[in-house]
């Protein structure tokens, strides 16, 4: 059987690797972006000079041959689902028995005047990165439209070369549609500490043409203020990259509709990663989750299904992580910016304003619902177990050291957390366990 995968991102490559592990089928992976799989999440580090492009490739070039995964660098212009055939930009045709669509996303553009000028671009692909690099020499200022994870990464990139940056966000503080108020405030402060000119509560009015088709300034809608700049980054979110599949009979809403076996409405065709939209997501989960981890899991699940071993997609307990300039962030379970009635939270912040722990629990029975940590590392497996087992909040607090994943010698803040909790609630909790690997492993096995 010939399995063709469009897209060599994390989801497509995970699907290919797992298909190879499970079967002897012929595997072809197509992408027009790069020859080899690279880590999209590491784009920023290339620009910042922490790594070279090769360093972002998780596998050495020989890996693909050794595992008999054929790589094709070409663009798929059209998919003929009836004849199971792809038309390539180069003119070739590639036929398939089963097809996995792992097309990823594209940066949003909301019809702003000037959005298609030169020096205006999102940050998603390797080409976007090259474009950014090409226009960075002598750049006097960059304006970034939209906060979010990619926006702040882009700001960090420019700052690494001492290029002044302005970020325009509609919200009143950074990423406050996802982060709870205190964390959002913390990051907002941190952005200012890094001398980034964050403008809150503003929208992009238009991007000004310098007369040669290049951007030279932006105008803020609310105030009419003009900000001179040589580069405009559009980072107001991403959406599934599915335009070329419209009108092929494939069912597309925002993304490609899939059931919980990741099958589309076309027989033998699957969709995974950023471009897939789950028709009936698990409770508490969103239909499109454009993140690395879900792409990786979907790739694996799709491989099982393609190989005839039926497995339903179950992403498990939500987790994610990011780094805002110098502050690391991890989340496990449900931590919402606008929590429902029954969510209560206990929040502790370090006096230096760069570290925080938030526990979310159910007001009714005090079971733990989520963790948000800023500037401190928690242990995924431990948090997951607490969440799965619906552990009581106070039990979690007493054992909190088990979750600490900071490097050795770091000051541990669990005691401060417990003290704060006791003070506020009148409880008398004590830390019961130490941060020791043996204890953790025992706990995980129990």
């Amino acid at each position: 059987m010939k399995i063709v995968i469009i897209g060599n991102g994390i989801s497509g490559i995970s699907a290919a690797r797992w298909t190879r592990k499970l079967s002897d089928h012929e595997i072809t992976v197509i992408s027009s972006e790069t020859e080899y799989f690279f880590s999209r999440t590491a784009l920023m580090y290339i620009y910042m000079g922490h790594m070279r492009k090769v360093d972002t490739q998780p596998y050495e070039p020989y890996f693909w041959k050794k595992n008999r995964i054929d790589l094709v660098k070409d663009h798929v212009d059209h998919v003929d689902f009836d004849n199971k055939s792809l038309t390539m930009k180069s003119g070739d045709n590639i036929s398939y028995d089963k097809l996995i669509l792992a097309l990823g996303s594209k940066s949003n553009k909301f019809g702003w005047p000037g959005q298609d000028l030169k020096c205006v671009a999102g940050l998603y692909s390797m080409q976007d990165l090259d474009n950014m690099e090409a226009h960075s020499a002598g750049l006097k200022r960059a304006v970034i439209v939209g906060g979010g994870l990619i926006g702040i990464e882009m700001a960090e990139m420019f700052r690494s070369r001492d290029i002044p940056v302005t970020i325009l966000i509609r919200e009143e503080s950074y990423w406050n549609n996802i982060l709870p108020k205190e964390e959002s405030a913390m990051i907002t402060r941190h952005i200012y500490d890094h001398h980034i000119d964050l403008r809150i509560g503003v929208n992009l009015g238009e991007i000004v043409d310098d007369g040669n088709g290049k951007a030279c300034a932006v105008i803020i809608k609310e105030t009419g203020e003009r900000i001179e700049c040589g580069y405009v980054g559009l980072t107001a979110g991403v959406s599934p990259n599915v335009a070329f599949l419209k009108d092929t009979g494939l069912k597309i809403e925002r993304g490609i509709s899939v059931n919980n076996h990741l099958e589309t409405n076309m027989p033998g065709v699957y969709a995974i990663g950023d471009c897939a939209q789950i028709s009936e997501p698990m409770p508490g989960r969103r239909p499109i989750e454009a993140i690395w981890y879900t792409g990786r899991m979907m790739g694996e699940v799709a491989a099982y299904n393609v190989c005839g071993r039926e497995v339903a997609y179950d992403p498990g307990i939500w987790f994610n992580s990011a780094k805002f300039l110098d502050i690391e962030y991890q989340v496990y379970g449900d931590v919402l910016a606008k929590p429902p009635e029954h969510h209560a939270t206990f929040y502790w912040e370090h006096p230096d304003g760069t570290k925080a722990i938030r526990l979310v629990y159910d007001v009714n029975d005090k079971t733990i619902l989520g963790f948000n940590v800023m500037g401190i590392r928690f242990r995924h497996e431990v948090c997951e177990k607490w969440l799965k087992e619906k552990t009581h909040l106070e039990k979690v607090i007493e054992d909190l050291s088990l979750a600490n994943f900071d490097p050795e010698f770091y000051k541990q803040h669990e005691q401060d957390f417990v003290d704060a909790y006791n003070k506020q609630t009148g409880a008398n909790l004590k830390l019961k366990r130490k941060r020791k690997l043996d204890q953790v492993l025992k706990f995980l096995k129990a």
Partner: protein, 596 residues
Amino acid sequence: MNNIQKIGIGLFLLSLIIFTAVLGLNSYTLSSDGLSHITNDVHRNAIIEEAEKTGALDKKYSNNIAFIGDFKSILNNTQASLESSYKSNPPADVSEWDYKMGDWVMKDYTINTLKATGDGPVSNNPLLFLFLTFGLGIIGGLLFILPKFRALPGIKNDNIYHSALTRGLTFTPRVGILMATIIGVLIYGFKYMNGAIFWPLVTAIVAGLITLLVFLHEKKKETGPPRSASVPITGWIGFFAGFYLIGFYILLYWMPEYITNWTTIVDPVSHMLSGNDASQWFLYGLMYTVIVIVMGIRMMSKYRHNKYQRVRTASVMFFQTCIAFLLPEILTRLNYPYYDFKNIWPLNYTFFFDWNINNLIESGGLGIFMLVWGIALIVLGVPIITYFYGKRWYCSWVCGCGGLAETMGDPFRQLSDKSIRAWKYERYIIHGVLVFAVIMTAMVLYHFFTGSTRVLFLDSNNIRQWYGFLIGSAFAGVIGTGFYPLMGNRTWCRFGCPLAGYLGLVQKFKSRFRITTNGGQCISCGNCSTHCEMGIDVRHYAQRGQDIVRSSCVGCGVCAAVCPRGVLRLENGSTDIGERAEEVRNVHIEDLINAK
């Protein structure tokens, strides 16, 4: 970079230029006064006679190169004439060995004569030049480094791949330089062994065999060139820095007579500490210590937010300054043997040499203690401490080579090759060196106890001379440090150090130490692999949720520090190490299916 930092760099470069120039700043006049340090009357008079004959006596040389040339031929002629006059007319009152002039004393005579006859700004103002070189270098370095403490704490790797100092070389020139160095070492080694081809030849054959094994294993068609080499970048400042370092080591190990002016400027420090004139080894020790301290401060500024890094850096600074540098000098002053308490065989390959053992035995209680301490470290210290904490307790907390790598070498850590091919080379070479060290030491001990130098066709003096040359000097020094800007800061530790090989075996097979990965949080970004100085592809494990148990890991903790998602943690624990290091440990689907 602000202005203060620019001034710092300027001062540092100035100090480097002066340091280099110092070598040519003296003139030399070969007077009989200048030879008075030679206490052997026969030798001294013969040399003076020979010098007079050739017209070199009281002649003024404007630089050391010409002087050394003439003086060496004077010594050679003297040696020959003493040899023949001993034959024709053996003196009654002087023993043969006092009469004839051995190669070894000739080296000493050359160096000491240079120091005694040198005249000029350097010899007249050693303190001034100490300030202009070491002093300015330190001030310049600190001016560059201290302002960094003002930056916001956080990962500071910006632009390392944009800098011509730290971005390394492409594959071809890098391999070219490496090959040239190896060939150069072998040719020089031929000369070093007085024209005996045996050992250089054996070395060349072993190198060829290893390469053959590596490539056979790769089954060629599957493997491309090593990954870390395929991007065209040229770090020309790094190239010159490497060149300078390599040159420095060649002079230090094999041509110390050319650097007597350097030892002259550190004489005042040596007098203060041990009371003796400075040898090239004192110079090296002092430079080493100063560099570890200054660059250690840099490391602290870089990882201000990371207490593991701060404590660890303080530790290597302490061990280098107090245990490796000051303590042995003080012991010498007190007439005890020169002894570095933290240097362990087989890194300290001379530990079992007869002169060392004899020296320790003859030095009373303390000497015996040193002998017992050294052996206890080998048979108890290494396995026990490594069992509990991994080899990091030594390699990145205590060791001097490790100390230099973690301080001066830190800007170059990303240049280590992460390819599977490099890993294969690593395993063959490091274990090969370990075996070599064991055989060499066994023969030396056999010699010590039995008095016989021969086992089969091998000669214990010969093998130890070659080991000292090839591993002790060429590998550990010239390649080990000279290649920092070319192949990363742990080239020696990774490919060569026999002690690291020994520690690594313990770590791999019997230790509680591992790097744990944090569930599914890895985004495969590659920061951890890139900044691993030992060339471990950390990401390979992390993205599978696998714990990392690798013999080469020195536990520097930088992977955990640079990981932007908090995925890695260095940990010690008594349980589950094998299970958690299994491949694909964290895959949820297998769990699901197995559970059904």
